[in-house]
């Protein structure tokens, strides 16, 4: 069972919910927010393995290349250019799609590999943790996310998604069986939640809502969920105490007052997401 935790916008507590639920459920944790993978700051796993994430890029054999410019024309990403009768590559723009190699009549293109990010895996408190890190300045996160999720073994996983509803999120959702949407009771929260709901509905997976910074009232999020017939998994109350524990980088689940909240959320998640 792979459960994605997502939120329409950043800062709603997606990582807080992911890391603490992983502990409460004794499920493995995967951080797919590869541009800002912060889950490990809280879980502090011992890193056992670091792997490179490689992408392929074309290399021109100048002896064979006749500078016919066919590869330049075919590249949709404008990653190739001709200078002084040589074809050169701008690797950050290259998607490694292979179109240039297909079009080249002179067999002048071979593919090499370069690193765009890393995957770290480790253990903490009997759960397996992994995260992807996109190298600074690299524009494409999808290869890192794919590598993180492609070969996950049997078991239960909590997957901390990138924020928003971008291509990165959609690529993460391709691998999951259920979703938890984290929101907060404000107009902003509701606005972004509606978009996130649209996204998970496209994947036809069971999903439920966790209200963070909840005021306990019949607020706009509860009203919306009732109207749309969406299940609420539970809520994390708005409190300065929680904010302070969080700001220290401590785990909320370890705090005796907060632990029961996550225990309850964990049990309700199983119900709502039809977790067997």
């Amino acid at each position: 069972m792979n459960i994605a935790v997502l939120s329409g916008k950043g800062g709603t507590g997606k990582t807080t919910v992911s890391t603490n639920l992983a502990l409460a459920l004794q499920a493995n944790y995967i951080d797919c927010d590869v541009e800002e993978p912060n889950g490990f700051l809280f879980l502090k796993p011992s890193i056992e393995k670091t792997e490179q994430v490689m992408v392929e890029y074309p290399v021109m054999d100048d002896k064979k290349c006749v500078a016919c410019r066919e590869c330049i024309k075919v590249c949709q990403f404008h990653a190739l250019a001709k200078v002084k009768d040589k074809v050169i590559l701008f690797e950050k723009l290259c998607h490694g799609c292979g179109a240039c190699k297909i079009i080249c009549k002179y067999d002048a293109i071979i593919y090499n590999q370069r690193e765009i990010g890393k995957i770290e895996t480790g253990q903490t408190r009997n759960i397996h943790c992994s995260r992807g890190i996109l190298n600074i300045g690299e524009p494409m996160a999808v290869p890192v996310i794919k590598k993180l999720l492609q070969n996950i073994s049997e078991g239960n996983y909590i997957i901390d998604c990138p924020p928003g509803t971008s291509c990165n999120v959609v690529n993460t959702l391709r691998y999951v069986d259920g979703a938890i949407l984290v929101t907060e009771p404000s107009e902003f929260g509701l606005h972004d939640l509606k978009i996130a709901v649209e996204v998970v509905k496209m994947f036809q997976i069971p999903f439920g809502i966790i209200i963070n910074k909840d005021d306990g009232k019949d607020n706009i999020i509860r009203q919306y969920c009732k109207k749309e017939n969406i299940q609420i998994i539970g809520a994390i109350p708005y409190s300065k105490e929680i904010a302070q524990v969080y700001s220290k980088g401590d785990i909320l689940y370890d705090h005796f007052k907060i632990k029961p909240i996550f225990k309850k959320l964990a049990n309700r998640s199983k119900e709502v997401l039809q977790w067997n």
């Binding site: 330049i72 990403f77 404008h78 990653a79 190739l80 250019a81 001709k82 200078v83 002084k84 050169i88 701008f90 950050k92 723009l93 998607h95 524009p139 494409m140 996160a141 999808v142 291509c167």
Partner: protein, 121 residues
């Protein structure tokens, strides 16, 4: 000699476009043939690599000089390697740009401006 200027329009009273890769048009003044060529900038609409697409276009046109506002690192690398000279100018009418160029008042671009990777979609 061929002088390419990034512009917002097709006429001689159009103004210089400060952006290179995403400008609307290039006006190319062929001083030898006494001709003006108007090119629509193909880089303008690409999600990424706009500066490279624009440079490719100007390299194909065999221009000798480019006058624009800012050049990104990718475009700068290409243009420098091809041996094209690039000059910096403000957003003023094309007539005045040419006048300034002819009077030697424009500053040559020797370091590129900030990079601009496109999105991945």
């Amino acid at each position: 000699m061929k002088i390419a200027i990034s512009t917002t329009g097709k006429n001689s009273d159009s103004v210089l476009d400060m952006r290179f890769g995403r400008c609307e048009y290039f006006q190319i003044y062929d001083t030898k043939a006494g001709k003006i060529i108007i090119l629509e900038n193909k880089g303008r609409l690409s999600s990424g690599g706009a500066g490279i697409a624009a440079s490719n276009q100007l390299i194909d046109e065999k221009v000798d000089v480019i006058i624009t506002g800012n050049l990104g690192p990718n475009a700068f690398e290409l243009i420098a390697a091809e041996g094209i000279k690039a000059y910096k100018c403000k957003s003023i009418a094309i007539n005045s740009v040419l006048e300034k160029y002819n009077n030697g008042e424009l500053e040559e671009i020797t370091i590129s401006g900030p990079a601009h990777h496109g999105g991945h979609n």
